[in-house]
Amino acid sequence: MTDPIAAVRSAFPDAVRASAVYRQTPILTLQAADLLAVGRFLRDTPELGYDLLSDLTVVDRLRLPQAQDEARFAGIYQLRSVARGGDLLQLTVPLPGGDAPVAPSVTGLWPTADWHEREAFDLFGVRYEGHPDLRRILMPDDWPTHPLRKDQPLGGERVPYTNTWAEEEFQHLGKQIMQTDQRPEPVPGRMDARHMIVNMGPQHPATHGVLRLIVELDGERIIGIQPDIGYLHSGFEKQGENIRYKDFVYYTDRMDYVSAMQNNLAYCLAVEKLLGIEAPPRAQAIRVIVCELQRIASHLVWLATHTLDVGGTGLALLMYAFREREEILDLFEMVCGARLTTSYLRVGGVSHDLPPAFIPRLRDLLARLPGRFDEYERMLSGSPLWRGRLMGIGKITAAQAIAWGVTGPLLRGAGVPYDLRKAQPYCGYEQYDFSIPVQSEGDSYARYLVRMAEMRQSLRIIQQAVDALPAGHFWIDDPKIAPPARGLLDQSMEALIHHFKLFTEGFRPPPGQAYHGIEASKGEMGVFLVSDGSAHPYRCRVRTPSFVNLQVTELMAKGHLFSDLVTVIGTIDIVLGDVDR
């Protein structure tokens, strides 16, 4: 394996300001002026091949004591090489310009940077030179500040909206949020006003939430799509930077709210990486079991909503898939008392051990699910109408998918056998025998097949994990991180003190930065944390799969019919909580 640091140092001796390897991740600090050249070198050199820009974000180092240089903002680029098994390389780029930072746009190298850079512009005010369409993305267009800057306090800002409830006309009504004096917006610049331009969403049954697509139609044919997101933006990252590490676990549930366990996992693993600890084997196995159950549950929701999108409300499969998902949620309720927002995983382990009744019930479900999946496939796979609606729709090639940073079933449906569980195993996935389902067509039908096969693979993993469930602690045996057992509190003064310290102060990871990505049900879910040595994360960044995958909507749906747009949104499998955060 080529060492990227050495390769870049030898090719660009002047560009590298510093380099380090922190927790196995090579980190390169580059001059902003050399970013594009180094990026091209990293992407195009065959031995390096960093073709996937996993994440792009910015850190405001205004209050970071460990900052080694004078620039206030630093761009953070997480690069992966799909061909080399998802090897991670972090680029840190101090941005010139002081309080009005400027960075070169990398959209020419990795098109996926488009929305990431818009987000960084929106939340940090970084101006990306060469970006094709630098607008706000999550916050409203007339928002006065860049909220993730460290000099912006959490809460307390004036919300630049005026409710019109005072108007007499609305006195007798409930809470009207829409403004009465709204006028139609101008037509987006690149669209032709002679065509029919329709708002699809935010209140639309097929957009899976408050997604808004501005669709340009010629008859039934889609000419252009401009997604408008941010309706559900709730500032999770800002929130995460203002609370203690362990308290953010509960927030992660609310991002991709149909796969809460996996969100917990991504965050906990990032914190554990920062702390340099590892959860005990039993906790790892439990994590694998619940996360794979969650993957099945999430795919079932996808299947149900996808058949709903394609087939209409009458289709019975909708309820069948939800029936099975309910059984999985029952299992979650057994382990942690919650069904949807589970918050079951904790830093260093899980919050409760599995109850005794869990395993038999799980085995019972494992025995039944394959038959149910067969039933679904009998209903759909051969159906000419289903095939007619899905085949050839929303095509994406492997090269396009990688360039746009698309991961998960979308990438595997395009023929790339890339799965972080195999490529960069975590939680002991390397012990389990499973395969990565791949289809080469890259259309919606391929993605349907991939997801169906993935559910079966998840069953295999769960089966193996249950069969070889190790005994031992379910939470790390470190009183600085995991609270002592309840019984100990009555006997041991020391345990009581640990408990008190943990819940009043939390734990303090050493200064450093860590990015950890996991294979969530929708793609790579990554969490990037910067620690300044305090009990709060200095920077908390979440890379969500839905946000990145949603970018390819136009690429996939352009030229198809209006009905196919619904199929495309369904096949991307977005959750708006995951998109907007």
Binding site: L173, Q176, T180, R183, I197, N199, M200, H204, T207, R212
Partner: protein, 119 residues
Amino acid sequence: MTSADYLPILILILIAAPFAGIAILLPSVLGPKNPNRMKQEAIESGMIPFADARRRFPVQYYMVAVLFIIFDIEVIFLFPWAVSLNQLKIFGLIEMGVFLGILLIGYLYVWKKGAFEWE
């Protein structure tokens, strides 16, 4: 069979129409009335529409209508022929064969021209 046979249908229409009319008028008497601007906006996923919806239709819809007119008239000619086939016998069969044959050529032409593709 006289036009008197159609009288019951006229009566049915005369009864059905007021029923529909009353049903439409009823809520304006019985229902609450709280109009406001938001309620009277066009429903377009919660946004104000960009423009008026009435505009030039794409030509594809028109194509379907033209095709329909061509071929549906053929069907109208089939009805009286179908009723009296017993009298017409082989002669009727040949006549209709010629008629359908001509239309079939047109049908195949239209198919070849791609009028049935949604483009």
